[in-house]
Symmetry: C2
């Protein structure tokens, strides 16, 4: 018998009730019924994003939403600054490059987080910068960047901070309105507990000004079309009705839990995961680790890709590997979206068993016991 557990930082496990909503009979996207559902989704998205402004659903992967930001918020006569601390930071650069933009890159070592002072310096050196691109959580390393501090610096300079919150929103603290964030994007397959297929974007008033001034070629990713649609409680193109049906069900679950409680839960589960792997003598990869994913160095001499394969084949647990130049060096345990205390214990227990069988010197039970000591404090967690 093969019982499969998804502990990846996206796509993530989706509740059956949510999946079944997506299997409902098709409805037409220009019907009153659809408008009612869409309208509810638009309201609930604001709760998750902690904003009173429109949050616009885009039918694309997260990369599509990233491209929306580049296409709508930059201009060729300016020089964006990209904070590149991993695979997805690099993607900001790749997209900018695709749009003919020359960027200034703040290279952050994999596993490290951006230093606000460095951004401040870079902004002084580059007065022609109008937008800074960053991740809330760099999924490829499991590190979080200090968004609130970065935003304060950008705000003072009149520069937009564009936040890829794809694996962050719903799991990390992200106060869109309170922190004056200019652009925040997210993806359905992460803390939103839905299959992949939808991305989300919200912009500040300053950012909307940039949208109106952008001269980049764009059609499908022209955010003005989505804002028009938002006002009519409609989507500018044919929306993915089944994914919206399931998203509504998942958003209701998130809203029932409460968005702050959801972030607290992710924080608790992340702490327990970290305590667990540390108790096994493993080392964390990220200096400022995220709530959504824990990156762990593979014990020296062993290949994390092999470990991940064994974990899947022998224990049915899927975790993620390291990407790009770090392939084989570390592994990533996702605890994002529809995840609870028991999932953390089962993942850690499987990790213990496989490491033991691979000959790593660990004390069986030490990881899960350390996690238990954190998880039992659930009530006090914040």
């Amino acid at each position: 018998m093969h019982k499969h557990r998804m502990m990846t930082p996206g796509p993530t496990d989706v509740p059956s009730e949510v999946l079944l909503e997506g299997a409902k009979k098709q409805i037409h996207h220009r019907s009153v019924e659809f408008q009612r559902i869409y309208s509810e989704i638009l309201d609930l998205l604001k709760i998750v994003f902690k904003t009173s402004r429109p949050v616009l659903p885009i039918l694309s992967s997260g990369t599509g939403a990233m491209e929306c930001c580049v296409a709508n918020l930059t201009s060729l006569d300016t020089k964006p600054i990209v904070i590149e601390g991993g695979w997805f930071g690099k993607r900001w650069n790749d997209i900018c490059c695709g749009y003919g933009l020359e960027t200034e890159t703040i290279q952050v070592d994999w596993g490290k987080s951006a230093e606000p002072e460095l951004l401040e310096e870079k902004l002084i050196e580059n007065p022609n910068c109008s937008a800074v691109f960053v991740q809330l959580c760099e999924t490829s390393t499991g590190a979080v960047h200090p968004i609130q501090e970065l935003q304060e610096i950008c705000f003072k300079k009149g520069v937009l901070l564009v936040v890829d919150g794809i694996s962050g929103v719903g799991a990390e603290k992200c106060e869109t309105d309170e922190w004056n964030l200019d652009a925040v994007i997210a993806g359905s397959q992460k803390a939103f507990m839905n299959p992949p297929g939808l991305s989300y974007i919200t912009l500040s008033d300053r950012a909307w000004n940039a949208v109106r001034n952008s001269k980049h070629t764009r059609f499908y990713f022209d955010l003005r079309k989505y804002l028009d649609g938002y006002e009519k409680k409609n989507h500018p193109f044919t929306p993915p009705t089944s994914l919206l049906h399931s998203q509504l069900a998942a958003l209701k679950m998130i809203s029932d839990e409460g968005i702050d409680n959801s972030v607290r839960r992710h924080s608790l589960l992340a702490s327990a995961t970290r305590a667990g792997v540390k108790a096994l003598g493993l080392k964390l990869f990220a200096e400022h680790p995220a709530n959504s994913v824990t990156s762990v160095w593979m014990p020296e001499g062993l290949d994390s890709s092999l470990f991940i394969k064994k974990l899947m084949a022998e224990e049915g647990v899927t975790i993620a590997g390291a990407q790009g130049p770090w392939k084989g060096k570390f592994f990533r345990i996702g605890h994002l979206g529809f995840v609870d205390s028991n999932d953390i214990i089962l993942a850690l227990s499987a990790i213990e068993r496989v490491l033991k069988k691979m000959g790593v010197v660990i004390e069986l039970g030490a990881g899960i016991t350390a996690a238990q000591n954190i998880l039992v404090k659930k009530g006090e967690y914040k």
Copy 2:
């Protein structure tokens, strides 16, 4: 009790078995299991498109696939010709405009089809044209364009013919390889019997040359990325795994029926629908009507929007109205994808009852009887 029947030209009704496949437990998109599924999908798509070349899935609405064509196949120093015979012909122009292209438009009256001679003339007048944009079936009018003839003209001139087959592929004859079509696109929510969310695109070798030469800014819609993915049986970004699961199930059903049989079925159902409405004294809107949708003039003095509302409220049948300047003037019965003879009879019967109640002079039973006389010949249909 409200029993809902979708008779729209997309989104369309989706078999429950297909919907339930989409509700399967999530899998990771970089897993061996996903590669196996994706690989099967890529093979089956070729059958539906009647091509031996790659058919690439894009996570976007049909408009996204249209934009792919504009972004990858045009250049600013050429002047595309757009055959605009309705709402979606206009969309080709809108997208070209978004990409800063000046186009030459062949305006075709709504309900009419393109005349190949006119294209020949336009191509002589515009030696700087490198691509012609057209619809296989113009969904907004229910008219088909003579693709094979248009392609022969373009081919002789060394000009690409780009075919929006969104509501056509799978329902209309479309011999991608045999006719040397340069670009054909389709959408999951049409004859592909899947919810909306995926679009598909296939290109000729000539078209791939244009892709490599295109200088437009693009990232998410850069087809080279999808071709790379195709070769690795992988998707360049996070693909919509649940929609791909359901698409595989639907593609298997289409392949079991046989693509030519599928086109025959659509042709039969369209003939029956036309016979039915004509027997009620109604007039067809399209001169060369499509297999996927039948457009019918509303009897004079009556508003088709009101008729459609009544049909939905009183009989549970959803059909589509007329868009843009034609709002209220005609209605469109979709018979596309998961539709059989009984669906045609039920839709016509509901139409009869509602027209009668609206005071239109019709003979009750005449429409469905005329349709029966066609449907009974199913075996001989081709």
